[in-house]
Symmetry: none
Subunit: 181 residues, 4 copies
Amino acid sequence: MNKRDNILKAALKLFVEQGEQATSMKWIAKEAKCGIGTMYNYFESKEELINVLYLENKTKLFTYILETHDTSVSVKQQFVAIWLKFIDHAISNPLETRFLQLFSHSPKISKQVTEEVNELIYPLFEVYEKGKKEGIIKNLDTLHLVIFTNGAITSSVSYNPNISNQNKNDLVLLAWDAIKS
Amino acid sequence: MNKRDNILKAALKLFVEQGEQATSMKWIAKEAKCGIGTMYNYFESKEELINVLYLENKTKLFTYILETHDTSVSVKQQFVAIWLKFIDHAISNPLETRFLQLFSHSPKISKQVTEEVNELIYPLFEVYEKGKKEGIIKNLDTLHLVIFTNGAITSSVSYNPNISNQNKNDLVLLAWDAIKS
Amino acid sequence: MNKRDNILKAALKLFVEQGEQATSMKWIAKEAKCGIGTMYNYFESKEELINVLYLENKTKLFTYILETHDTSVSVKQQFVAIWLKFIDHAISNPLETRFLQLFSHSPKISKQVTEEVNELIYPLFEVYEKGKKEGIIKNLDTLHLVIFTNGAITSSVSYNPNISNQNKNDLVLLAWDAIKS
Amino acid sequence: MNKRDNILKAALKLFVEQGEQATSMKWIAKEAKCGIGTMYNYFESKEELINVLYLENKTKLFTYILETHDTSVSVKQQFVAIWLKFIDHAISNPLETRFLQLFSHSPKISKQVTEEVNELIYPLFEVYEKGKKEGIIKNLDTLHLVIFTNGAITSSVSYNPNISNQNKNDLVLLAWDAIKS
DNA sequence: TATGAATGAGTTTTCATTCAT
DNA sequence: CATGAATGAAAACTCATTCAT
């Protein structure tokens, strides 16, 4: 594993375990087994390190969710598949998931990164839009619907990170019942 | 207005606008128009200030939500009334609402305060339980249902603080559709 | 007991038990059961309080030592009597003794007080001077002899505050053997 | 000279000249011509700085005193040699001597350091013990005798730091006369 | 005279960042 | 590229002193 990845991995672990504020650059360097100066060869500042971590993990999350995305099946099937993958990712990557939650509204995340991240959600939009056109999803503002679903599921998974397969399905169907017309 | 309230008000404003980490005690004192030492006459530490702010505002929120709570009407009516009041409170008190979200999982909030806050939600539980007994709410774990609803509505309101009356109703009904059987 | 004495007593106790630095004026006021402001009616500052405490206790010590001082007996008898009373005072007043030691070279004690205190030792000087004239005490600088004796005895008593009567006599005779010719 | 020594030297000077309490870390850094942070690379805290200063200087003192210690000569010769070296050291190192006195009973000195320091005095003990066995030193508690001698000589030297060679001998003989049987 | 809330200068300590090696 | 000693601005917090009541 290369140095850059070591640093990112160390920072992720320490930020989640102890909070970003309580994690000094010195400590990250120690955990990453490199010098402090080395970190500044890869990241301009602590803030950049946080932003890179946020952007890369958010991108990984959506890449995973959408890599098997199949627009040919029914809207409900697409909806269920996407959100189940979202939950699976959260369960398999607890550190990353916790990190993304902790920093999702942090003032440390730059506007630039926030905008890049917002674009990732676009394919998800299209599922809702298609459902609305087909009349099987309520005719409300799409953004509102997505936010509603995301808030509900994220909140549920973070309170219950050891969710069972049965509960995963229940959870996604709960969300579906909310938005279906 | 007394000094203690000035300090709480100043801290709330600055914590939300700039983040807690970026807000020094010196700055809060300046905003509250008092000396730094004065703050330490009212609050032992920055951490206590945060905890008091959290407990008092969470308590105000639930007091407001539940002050007109009427257990004699139907479960759906109770559900709608409670969450509408929740949304109203969020709209009328954006700073307080944002603060409560920001610190809801913060390590700065003490176990003691977390426990006190958890008890406030009890009446809300009973509405869901009653609905489950009557067979009109899905027979899933009550805590999960509450978390689902709360996550969905909180998320929606915080992304759209200027929500219209029509949308408020739509939002609550979206949540209702999710959990109704 | 009047307020002034209460304050002095409280300060003495706390200064010795916890150190002056660790003892705040607030704490002294609490121990003396009066308001902080009240202390400033009796003593201009913390420094003055320390100086008054030092001067008064040093004066009490020498008053006690010298109140039965009898210049008609032999020099050796005078020497022994004085230093035995010194030791007795130290044993009976451990807090006061400790305080006087702690502050004997403190930068907090003003020049003015230091000078006043130095004069108290004058009668003791005369005993040594008389002994030198009689040829029974070594013909060295009197101040040096007094400092030698005082250093030796003070040091001994402070390391062994529960000294027995036998040891008290041994100690004084040790000092006598040093200076006798 | 290296940075660590610069810091120790600066701290020693300022602690003695103005008192520890009146000497801020900022001031020590300025005197040592380094940044404040640098001090914390070498010493964990102000307290540690004090303790290191105390232990190192006490050790230097005893190393100097005992480096020429010769147990083959007479007890009196050993006694005189040791205390003369003690006085020499005090005269040559007035700052260090004053510092050791100021902190000898300070609550800032840790138990750990106190214990380490107490062991240094052991060879001195043996001189007294040997004298007692030979019947040329009074048969009193050895610790008491050592404390008596130390208190007397330390006190004398600190009041008169410009002591002449003649006076040095007189002083040591004064102490010898006290304890000899 | 007695009080204690209010004050802010000053303290120790931390830590992101730099730069000489 | 890699390193970590050096730095000092800034943080949380303390406490002697003041002054309105």
